[in-house]
Amino acid sequence: MIVLDIASVVLLAAGALFVVSGGVGLLRFPDFYTRVHAAGITDSAGAGLILLGLLLRTPSWETGVRLLVIMLFLALTGPTASYVLAFAARRDGVPIWREGDPRR
């Protein structure tokens, strides 16, 4: 049991780290496309790790199933949303940041 607890704590901590760093990235990165990357990290790595960490603490199998369903949905929708957003932004002509450009 101790092993599970430690693993869960590690996973949760890692997840929290990814989530916050993604959040900082969303605020600090210079243009839209890099920010998509930052947001993507929170949705995939951050969310996945946190949910895994919770999964190791589930009291019952129903809760576990629900956590898995959430993971599945987030895994499907997160990257899709990022991709579609970036695609649409590119088509709409949102400019790409190059070294030396001002931040937008």
Partner: protein
Amino acid sequence: MTVFTLINISLLAILVATALTVSRLRALYEAAMLSALFSLVTACLFVLLDAVDVAFTEAAVGVGISTVLLLGGLALTRSREAVTPRRRRLPGAAVAILAGGTLVYASQDLPAFGSADSPVQRHPLTDTYLHQSQEDIGIPNTVTSVLASYRGLDTLGELLVVFTAGVAVLALLGPLAHPVDARRRDDLDLVDYRVLRVISAMLMPFILLFALYVLFHGDFGPGGGFQAGVIFAAGFVLYGLVFGLDKAQQVVPRVVLWALIPFGLLLYLGVGVVNMLLGGSFLDYDTLSSDPAAGQHLGILLVESAIGITVAAVMTTVFFSFANRRATR
């Protein structure tokens, strides 16, 4: 408890910030999106208050359907707010300040937050709903008992409100108001998004399954007819958004949709009338079976399904009316 308070305070701060921004933004699409965010935060607060059903509804309605409908409505008009002269903003500001002031004034004599001694807690109503309902109705989720049985008429009324909204949209925006003209252009920009199409197609069965789960699980956990109906509608809307209106209307023809709107309402009403014919009063589900609790179960199930049908049909119709209107201009 302090953690709880801190979380509450930070969520409230986020809520206030969002509200202020929404009121300051001129760009209406952005404002609509931020109001979805507002709903998300509100729903989180409801979760923390343990009002799970309310949070569920807020999430389904506030984030899902109302964002979609707001955007659909905006797509029909202009997307930037016109500048209101300062002079004409004064009455609104005065009303807001007065109303807010009265709220603050009133809050001084409201029972303390979470107080176990508040009039609401002391009234026999609460006790009856929480304990007696287990005997009378036997459904673990008291909210469902109150909603569908004790105050079933209110729920019928709310369903009628949804129905009215549907009729109003049909009358003012729907194809009945503006017969579809021939030079219809289908501007489906999302058809190019292959990934989106594949993922949406994959998600569709899950969404519908989840809606059914919410409908029938309402007795035990959060959920019920309204939420299920909205989730169904969200599924259809997603399908229509990604695959185009024509395809969506092949799946659910308009005529069927329009028949389902009154059908749900009539089903609800029918349950009540059957109760009357069986010698009870309107919506007295006890009469449906020799065992009152079994009758209550059956009645609540029928009623929740009726709600789900009408809500789903109305929401889908409203969205399709908006979208059709745009496609035909």
